[in-house]
């Protein structure tokens, strides 16, 4: 399941009433071990409410305060949003998520609070659209999407970062998204799917995502190598420091 498919899905409660859209996904780092990253990020809470500018501003976090008017306006729309745990979900259908609970029974935390152990992340705010950087500091694409794997013994786990136009296309959606996807498929016959980067090679997440593998060994490097080999490296002086 791609995060892009989850965000924006309509959430329906036990009575069949629509509560809203999936606005964000909170992840918690206590899943099964996954490479150098340690414990995997697992599905923690589904946040219900649109994922617009208000949620991306991040004003529900207590340490982000200014400018005051903007913080009030945008913060009001993101504080106390209803959230659903994995066990509250009855079914995930295409574009629709059914809950076991009624709207009134859902938990409404003030904001993303850190648990006593482990670390909680907002997938939309702290992972999506972040810069990927390799161990030598080279830029290696963006976190265009995340892949979640369903598991028998618990909530889904983030297994893969999806990067490149193939993943971006679905985020953009509509006719333009379809067009980007088809151009990408045309240029990369056979591959079809977006480039995947295992979460096991993620070293660290802060304002960017650091990988432990060189960018040259990632699938996202293909187009860069093409531009280098066919155009830029042919111009004299391309290797000058």
């Amino acid at each position: 399941m791609r995060l892009a498919d989850l965000i924006g899905s309509v959430v329906v409660d036990a009575d069949g009433a629509e509560i809203g859209d999936v606005g964000d996904l909170w992840l918690i780092q206590d899943g099964p071990p996954m490479g150098v990253f340690g414990a995997a990020l697992r599905f923690d809470k589904l946040v219900i409410g649109r994922f617009g500018l208000a949620s991306r501003a991040g004003y529900e976090r207590p340490d982000v305060k200014g400018p005051v008017i903007l913080a009030r306006l945008l913060g009001r729309r993101t504080k106390h949003r209803p959230v659903a745990s994995w066990s509250d979900i009855a079914a995930i259908e295409e574009g629709r998520i059914r809950l076991r609970l009624r709207n009134g029974d859902l938990e409404r935390p003030r904001s993303l609070e850190q648990p006593a152990t482990g670390r909680r992340w907002s997938a939309g705010l702290e992972l999506l659209d972040r810069q990927l950087v390799d161990p030598d500091g080279w830029m290696a694409g963006k976190v265009d999407d995340l892949l979640l794997e369903f598991r028998d013994d618990g909530p889904p786990v983030v297994t893969e970062i999806l990067a490149g136009p193939g993943a971006l296309a679905r985020r953009i959606g509509g006719r333009l998204g379809a067009w980007i996807a088809s151009v990408h498929a045309r240029l990369h016959p056979g591959a079809g799917d977006p480039a995947t980067i295992s979460f096991g090679i993620v070293g660290k997440i802060d304002d960017h995502v650091t990988l432990i593998v060189s960018r040259k060994d990632l699938a996202t490097f293909e187009a860069e190598a093409w531009a280098r080999d066919h155009v830029i490296a042919k111009i004299p002086g391309s290797s000058d420091p």
């Binding site: 991306r56 903007l70 080279w138 971006l168 953009i172 304002d207 155009v231 830029i232 002086g237 391309s238």
Partner: protein, 409 residues
């Protein structure tokens, strides 16, 4: 001592590099049509670019995230793509305007039609981008732009009378020959000329290119708080010259040669040489900045390696975008669209597109996850929020005003 020199050099570079073809055209035109009645907009615009550039430079220094990274993170893939399309298009128009402007300057000197110079100018710009190191490139052209100080000298010689000029500047509203709509339209043009988005794309990426750290924040402040306002004074001097020479005679500014006229009329040939040199350097530096910005915006949106701090072959797609953008810009100018008209449209549309770039920076400049202890002060936030309101109003008003006034005609 070395640090003091570095700061001083940075201020001069920001000073000389502030003016570009947009400022030259907008300030001369409004001076000729409205006297100093729109001078206050230049002041507002300079304050605006000062806080905008300071925030973006500080964000880039503290987090290593330049402006378009932040736009992507805070607007999301879809809205950031809309911003990219708009910013890239406007920036492309600006590249075309700068290249056209350079070609016009050479036409003034040689008498040979500017269209012939367009491809040569573009190649020269590209070679500098390809060969010359970032810091050298920035300083040489920025410092050369200081030759534009002759306009201040020309203004002093024209002697419009300080009292009269101030009286004109204090009158709010259009002259009797102009309507309120054109007054508002030119106000937007001036604001767009002072606050062009490429300036922050370039400035914040430059902070990463030069590997600024927390210690260099003082450099950021000095460049922006001192260098930019000095550049703004040059803009006002250009406006003042135009107001003193053209307004009483009812002459409107339609060609770049008229921008140099106040200087050649008062300071003769030597003045003119300085003026042409200054204009050429200032526009050349802007051409470099806008061409780089084309690469910065696209590469930062997609997460590609960018920057002149690495070998060109290591940032292949970044250089490819720059190369293609220059080619398209050349085609735009060769289509014989009037470079002055292209400039006018590029600055007006710049003003309209500003909020989408300004909002993410304002939000992130307050986020300790990026800024640690260097978040905005309450005072700065108050001014910055005021500007947000202003920019949103301008953005909504721009297109209707453009149609209503037929592009300020």
């Amino acid at each position: 001592m070395k640090k003091v020199f570095e700061i001083f050099l940075g201020i001069l570079t920001a000073f000389g590099g502030f003016v570009d073809i947009g400022d030259l055209v907008a300030n001369s035109e409004t001076g000729a049509r409205f006297g100093m009645r729109l001078a206050w907009v230049v002041v507002v615009g300079v304050v605006g670019i000062v806080i905008f550039a300071e925030m973006s430079g500080r964000v880039a220094t503290m987090s290593k995230r330049p402006v378009f990274d932040v736009i992507r993170e805070r607007l999301g893939a879809r809205l950031a793509l809309v911003n990219l399309a708009a910013s890239f298009f406007i920036n492309l128009l600006t590249v075309a305007a700068e290249i056209g402007g350079l070609a016009l300057v050479i036409e003034l000197v040689t008498g040979i039609n500017y269209l012939l110079w367009v491809p040569l100018v573009a190649i020269a710009v590209w070679i500098v981008l390809w060969k010359v190191r970032f810091s050298i490139m920035e300083k040489v052209f920025g410092l050369s732009g200081l030759a534009l100080i002759v306009t201040a000298l020309a203004l002093w010689r024209l002697d419009p009378g300080f009292v009269d000029a101030l009286a004109s500047a204090r009158r709010f509203g259009p002259t009797s020959a102009e309507s309120w709509a054109t007054y508002a339209f030119f106000a937007i043009a001036l604001l767009g000329a002072a606050m062009t988005p490429y300036e922050v794309f370039f400035f914040s990426s430059g902070a990463v290119e030069e590997q600024w750290t927390r210690k260099d924040l003082i450099l950021n402040r000095a460049n922006v708080y001192i260098g930019f306002p000095l550049g703004g004074l040059l803009s006002l001097a250009i406006m003042g010259c135009s107001a003193a020479l053209f307004l009483p005679r009812g002459v409107s500014v339609e060609h770049l040669s008229q921008v140099t006229l106040p200087v050649s009329a008062t300071l003769g040939k030597v003045g003119l040489v300085f003026m042409l040199y200054g204009i050429f350097a200032a526009i050349f530096s802007a051409a470099l900045e806008t061409a780089l910005s084309a690469g910065y915006t696209v590469a930062q949106f997609f997460g590609w390696q960018w920057g002149k701090f690495v070998r060109s072959r290591e940032a292949a797609r970044f250089h490819l975008v720059i190369l293609l953008s220059l080619c398209v810009a050349v085609l735009i100018v060769l289509s014989t669209l009037d470079p002055i008209a292209v400039t006018e449209y590029s600055i007006v549309l710049s003003a309209a597109a500003l909020p989408l770039t300004y909002i993410p920076i304002l939000i992130v400049a307050n986020d300790p996850a990026y800024m640690k202890d260097k978040t905005n002060s309450m005072f700065l936030n108050a001014i910055a929020f005021g500007f947000l309101v202003l920019l949103v109003i301008v953005s909504i008003a721009t297109i209707p005003l453009m149609i209503w006034t037929k592009g300020g005609a």
